[in-house]
Symmetry: C2
Subunit: 312 residues, 2 copies
């Protein structure tokens, strides 16, 4: 079984892009044709089914073009058990379509409790009464609790060729309140977190990266270069491109000369492209065409800066 870092690097090279499509379904942003029933939001099961249908369409568009999708659990959990069921069915659909799946769950706990979350998300379970045994290839976690809150996730992940991304420097304005506090030695907290993540990650795979990655926001400018220096073997998951205002140029320090070392996640600017005036004409014929074009445009834009010319 290949390590997660190697599987991800292989998929990036194959698709020639570090772009990852984020799936964050919100009822009132879905294509109008899917939400014609104005009482839909009162019915958790019906919304969950709609999210599944919408997500499957995104997956169909994304599968030939990118290496992975990032599915955000929060949007599904809002619809309770039916939502969780849709989340898991969507993971299965994405993996069956050949995509890697990152479960954006930002879980955090320690010891025995962390093991439960790790099994819930990262283990491919074998419940005989479920069609939803397939878990994501990697998840996001919050490492404020220290290594006791990381190792249970990483161990469960590694046992199944999967990975974990720990929050290091997030893309939101108030991330400075804790993450940029200066330590006695002059370094900010997030740099210490980056060094810990680098250390916890342990041995690297064939491409030189470990299975413990880091979430580092694109809106933070220099932070990406600083984290790269502190964590040379860590794969970055970079959110905040597009809707959140991060620029692609800021992301460059995250990448090595092979175009590896990071993935860039874009969600709203792709999956809701049919709501964007720029894609209005395409959307009129079929909302899926707008999403596909936005995905291609993102990929093309990234390709101006990050290239996969070399043979490996």
């Amino acid at each position: 079984m290949n390590a997660f870092s190697d599987r991800l690097c292989n998929a990036i090279i194959e698709k020639k892009t570090p772009l990852v499509v984020g799936i964050d379904p919100v009822l009132d942003r879905l294509p109008p044709e899917m939400t014609a029933d104005e009482n839909l939001g009162m019915n958790a099961q019906a919304v969950a089914e709609m999210f599944l249908e919408f997500g499957r369409a995104i997956i169909e568009i994304a599968a030939p073009l990118v290496s992975a999708v990032k599915i955000n659990s929060a949007y599904f959990e809002r619809y309770h058990a039916p939502g969780v069921s849709a989340y898991r069915q969507l993971i299965k659909a994405a993996r069956q379509a050949g995509l890697l799946v990152m479960g954006d769950v930002k879980r955090s706990d320690i010891g025995h409790t962390a093991v439960q979350y790790a099994i819930a998300q990262l283990a491919d379970t074998h419940y005989v009464d479920s069609v939803e045994n397939t878990g994501p290839d990697a998840i996001t976690i919050n490492a404020y609790l220290g290594s006791d809150g990381v190792k249970p996730f990483l161990e469960t992940a590694s046992a199944g060729g999967k990975g974990v991304f720990a929050l290091v420097r997030t893309s939101n304005p108030s991330s400075v309140e804790i993450q940029e506090l200066l330590l006695a030695d002059g370094r900010p907290v997030y740099v210490q977190m980056a060094e810990l993540v680098s250390r916890w990650g342990g041995t690297a795979g064939a491409y030189g990266y470990s299975d413990l990655g880091a979430v580092v926001g694109a809106t933070t400018g220099h932070a990406l270069a600083v984290v790269r220096a502190a964590a040379p073997r860590t794969i970055f998951l970079i959110p905040g491109i597009g809707a959140q205002g991060g620029s692609l140029a800021d992301c460059l320090p995250a990448f090595d000369s092979r175009g590896l070392g990071a993935v860039i996640a874009a969600s709203r600017s792709i999956i809701y492209a049919y709501r964007d005036a720029k894609y209005a004409e395409l959307a009129e014929s079929n909302w899926r065409r707008a999403v596909e074009q936005a995905l291609i445009d993102h990929k093309t834009h990234i390709a101006t800066m990050i290239k996969y010319e070399q043979t490996f």
Copy 2:
């Protein structure tokens, strides 16, 4: 509608104890009579039903004796959608039994995504196809992302008379790796987190406490006193008593002279008391008797140090 802090203080005074019973069900620790079928673990729905049955028995025992239960979502999420359904049904059962419910979910995210988690957990929703619309009275969150990751939870909570507990200083050994890092001004990170939590909490209720509480471990000795000094109006949720090795004396600085200001959570040492040699005789007749006695013993022990003699 009363604020969460006032509802919790009222309940503590009524039950004359800050003890909260944690419900963390694990299949192989359940009473043997409940797990006779050795294939039970292969069936997510069957395990979820068993957790619900077990949890309901704990609630029946706890309701006359304590103010609240803390239900740990991780143990339910391990069993996917059926587990999540059981978690929510158990919350409803506990609230119907007159208990306050803390959902131990340790969620973390920002902005729009945090709103989804907040609605998922804290909103009493109105899905017409669900019997599981009741959410917990409070949840735990991880505030490493700063106020962007706290305010959406707190706003949703406050709108429904509910509360939030942010991780400040956790009870695990490796919590020192981030939380005890010394800042340039000599304070540890967790003290800055405590001050932020205190500030974010805003106005206090009738008892002088805000609806944004703090998780502070009992295994950390002096940390409780330090956090109390930094956050005078913050209710502490103190785990780590019992199985994790925290001592009751260490908790005293968290409490005011009325016995308010903190709750003490004990899970395994109560709900699995029938596995403890000390309660073997009781357990032989009925496992519920062992749990009840362990709960009473915990309450009696706490009452030696924290008293509710005053009239309010």
